[in-house]
Every structure is written in structure tokens, then in C-alpha cells.
Amino acid sequence: MTTLRLLIKNELRSKTRHRERSGSTSMPKKWITIYGALALVIVAGIATYLGIQGETKFKEIWYFNWGMLFWATARAGKSVQKEWDNETAGWWLSLPYSRGTLLTAKFFVNLIRWVKTSAVIYIALFIFILYVMALEGKGSEIFDVLVKGGQWYVLFISLSPFAIGVGILNWVIRKSMFRPMFPLLWILSLIVINILAWLFLTASLTGGEMLGIIAVSWIVTLGVVRLATHILDQHAVL
Amino acid sequence: MDEQEIGILRLGLDFSQPLYEQIVEQMRGAIARGEIALGEKIPSVRELAHGLKINPNTVMSAYKELERDGLTETRRGQGTFITSAQEKVDDFRSEWAEQVIDEFLGKMENLGYTVDDIQLVIQRKKEDKE
């Protein structure tokens, strides 16, 4: 248990996703701030415009969760891929811990990061919505919108373990003797995630149905991580 | 072959020959010829290994051999020194010379030379040198 905690701690500490190639230059901090401020001004401008128009509907805005699921999958895959990209896979895999422990640590780190990233995006969205609605003078509806948003956040965080597990499995397969199967599995994964997002966002499921699907997705996730562990253990290509 | 100066020693190794023998032979020679003064401290195993870029185990076994020869002595906590007894060096030198000559005689006999033949050859060599 402490091993897992230490692996998670050290993985969380490591922020670089892509190591800079020698010769490339990174964006100076000053310019990142300038562009960030510019984007903020544009968003604020749009929000003000929408608020003055006064006819904004925030029903479809939650569809962004659709894309978020794919992002979670790709990011989880990247967290495996980076060990090879940064040429640290040898250190990672020669650690005296089982493949299951190593992948479980990656899984939890992805989950923790995902909860944070989603929270930041939701908070930004809430501020945007609050501002627009305040300008529109729809103060009474604000509470309902926030509750709705909160529900979406919890629902999609509940689906993210599956997305993360699938991402890890796909990229482990990519680094194994089964690499030829990767494109097929990847397309299949995308279809499954699409169906999930479609079910939750457009089909009107009952609360019970949603809970059922989430429970099944968690059980499947366990199997997916077990499979990734087995492949990394027996068939990885270094 | 580059000679390295490590402390009071000057050694040069040829990596196509066993290293251990080279260290022993070169140090024996230097002590027998009196190039290294009696009672001098010689480099530690670590220093010599670093200086020559070789395995310390090799240096260690060479030092042990020299101690068996009676040419060096280890003083506890101080390091390894050339023996301060001249007679030990002399003993070793004559013993070694004896060995070299026996070896030489053996080889010459193998070639069919008698001791008289050998003496003649040596006489001629001596005249050449003069």
C-alpha cells in the first residue's frame, strides 16, 4: 500500500509530458501571460455580448463532456506513452514492483489529475454562465443551472475511470507484441466511448439506469487494467 | 605505452599483456635498481588503481606479491612502504638474478649451447659494448 502511495506521489510530482528536443525553444512566460490575457478579454467580450442580447440557452453547453471523455482516454494513453517517448521506460519497468502496482499507480494519478482538470473547466464554465445570466437578469435560474452542472460533473467523473482504463490498455498494447491490433482496438474503444457519451447526454436514462451503467463500467475497468497488466508483464517490447 | 607517474612510482602498462605481472615486474625492477628509496611510502591501492585506470583487485594482488617478495611492508593505519632493510632488497635481487640466469641457461641448453659456448657469446657481447 505504501509502495502504491509513493509511486503515485512521484508520478504526480512529474509534470513534463513531453521532453523538449534539444534546439527547440519554449514559449517565454511573458508571452503565455499576454496570450492568456487576450483570450480572457475575448471570452469576457463574448459573455458581455451574450448577456446584453439576453436570449442565451445553456442547455446544450454540457455537450462538451462528450469531448472530455476522449480527452481523458488520450491523456491516460499519453501517460504510458511518455515513458517510451522520454526514454524512461527502462527505469520504470525495472522497478521492483509488480506490473499491476505500476499500472494501478498510473491509473490513480490519471484519475486524480482528471478530477482536477474537470473541476477547473467546470469552475471556469460556471463563472462564464453566472456572468452571462447576471447580465440577462435571470438571477432566479442561476441555482438550477449550477445544480445541473454539478450533476453533469459527478456523472462524467464517474465515467472517467473507464475512459482512463481504456486509454492505458490501448497504449500498453501499442508497446507490446500485439501492436498490430492497436488500430482496431482503438476504433472499437472510440465507438464504445461515443455510445456512452451519447447515452448519457441525449438518451433520457433514468437515474437507476445511469447507476447501472456506471457500475458495469467500473467492473469492466477492473478487467481492462488487469488485461493491460498481463500484456505489460508478458508481451511488452522494450 | 604511456608512463604514468603515481606518487613515487613510474609505471607504464601494455594492455595486451597481463597487467598484474607488469606491475610486479616494473616495481621489482625499480626497487632492485634502487630507483625507489628504502622506506618510502608507495601509493595506496586506490591511488594506483585510479592512476592506471585499472581494477583495484589487480593492484591488490600485485602488492601482495611484492610483500611476499619481502620488498614492501604494510604498517597498520599508515599504508604500504618499501622495506627499509637493504639486505632484503639485496637478497631478493640476487635471488631474482639467479632465477633469470637459470631460465636463460635452460633456454640456451635447449638450443644446444654448452656453458662454454655461452661464455664465448657473452665475451663477444662484452667486447661489442666496449
Binding site: L6, T88, S94, M177 | K53, P56
Partner: protein
């Protein structure tokens, strides 16, 4: 002679490529052992089997008396082939990583080595030269109190001063403790005098092995031997 790695008829292929064929060796312990041979001769494949990163297709292998695998690796410090260190770590960060995750990692020893190898402890890895990074990675291995250290090509692509520092650190390691150090290299550089015994590999086979001094007496220097090997000769 104590044995640290024992291979019996070990074979390993990757698809159609044969990496190792019929390797039967006993690698002696408490020594500096050179695994020498040209690129692609199977040195790294052998090391990966020792670490349990890959499984042999057939044959038996035991390391420190056990079957290789993650649960044997707490006894082994391993420098992987062509590895880099985590770019966002500082030297201190790397040492913290070592203390957290590597059994037997001795932080005070690591600090000592860093001073001696002239590595600035506040420096970030992605700002390092290749030689500095190589020195750090070597410290991560040498600062561990484990019975076996496995270094895959520690001298490749490194400037001469760094290489000399690394060799000096290895010499000290041998002076201090009872460890077995396995070093693979395709170029001997200044490491010629370092080995107690050597194994010459070529095309997935061990073609010649023995105590370095005996091989020198019979065949000349390691550099000459590797030269002969890479040009198709058997060195015998």
C-alpha cells in the same frame, strides 16, 4: 567461484529476429564483469532477461539464485540501454525519487558521488549535457547497496571527461564493497583495465570468455579482441 547469473540454453527471439541463441554461461560474482561485443550482438537482450523485462523463449536463467522478475529487482541496480532521466527532476529530485522507490538507495552516498562527479544538485535534468545526465544516471545506480549492479553501455555517447569520472567512480565502488558489476560496452575506451573477467558476444552467442588477465596472456588486449570479433573472426 560464486555465480551471480546462470544461463542454461537460453534462447530469445523477437518475431523473426534472433536476439540470443543457446546462451549457456556462469557469470562469476564479486567481480567487475565486462560483456563485450559489437552492437546487436545480444548484450542488451541478455541484460533485459536478467532484469526480467523480457522472458526467454526457452532455457533457464537464474539471477542471485532466483528466477528473474520484478520481485528479484530490489537486489539489482540497472542502468538501461539508451536511457534518459526524468527531464523535470532536479538532481535532488532524482535522489528523492531514488529514496522513495529504489530499495537500498543511500542518499548520503549519492550526495558524496554528486560532489565528486561535479554535478550541481540544484540543476534540472533537461538543462544538462548528455555527459552530466549520464553521470547522474550512474549515481542512481552506484549509490545503491545491492549485490548486483548492471550497467548497459554506460560509456556510449559521453564526452571523455565524463567517461573518466564514471570509470573512477566504478574503481572506487570496487575498492569499497563486495558487489558484482556487469558492464556491457561495444567500445572499450578507457575501461580496458577495469574488468576481472569478460564475456565476448557476437550474433547472439557467447564466443569467448574468461578472466581478463588470462585472455590478455593468450590473445592480447580487449580492444584487439573486440576488433577481431566485429570483423567476423572468432578471436581464437
Amino acid at each position: 567461484m560464486d555465480v551471480v547469473v546462470r544461463c542454461q540454453d537460453v534462447k530469445k527471439t523477437f518475431g523473426t529476429r534472433t536476439a540470443l541463441q543457446d546462451i549457456t554461461v556462469k557469470i562469476p560474482s564479486h567481480q567487475v564483469v565486462g560483456i563485450l561485443g559489437p552492437n546487436g550482438s545480444g548484450k542488451s537482450s541478455l541484460f533485459r532477461l536478467i532484469l526480467g523485462l523480457n522472458q526467454p523463449d526457452s532455457g533457464e536463467i537464474s539471477v542471485l539464485g532466483r528466477k528473474p522478475g520484478w520481485n528479484n529487482n530490489h537486489q539489482i541496480a540497472y542502468l538501461p540501454d539508451r536511457a534518459r532521466w526524468y527531464g523535470d527532476h532536479t538532481v535532488e529530485g532524482a535522489f528523492q525519487w531514488g529514496m522513495d522507490l529504489l530499495p537500498g538507495f543511500d542518499a548520503s552516498k549519492a550526495n558524496e558521488l554528486a560532489d565528486w562527479m561535479e554535478i550541481d544538485k540544484k540543476m534540472r535534468v533537461d538543462g544538462m549535457s548528455k555527459g552530466q545526465e549520464a553521470r547522474l544516471m550512474l549515481i542512481m545506480c552506484l549509490a545503491r547497496n545491492v549485490p548486483l549492479i548492471v550497467l548497459d553501455e554506460p560509456f556510449t555517447g559521453i564526452d571523455t571527461p565524463s567517461r573518466e569520472r564514471i570509470i573512477d567512480a566504478l574503481i572506487d565502488r570496487v575498492t569499497e564493497r563486495e558487489q558484482t558489476i556487469l558492464i556491457s560496452t561495444h567500445e572499450i575506451y578507457e575501461a580496458e583495465g577495469l574488468f576481472d573477467s569478460v564475456f565476448f558476444m557476437n550474433e547472439g552467442r557467447v564466443e569467448l570468455s574468461g578472466p581478463a588477465e588470462e585472455l590478455r596472456a593468450k590473445h592480447g588486449s580487449m580492444v584487439e579482441l573486440v576488433g577481431k570479433m566485429s570483423h567476423g573472426g572468432r578471436g581464437r
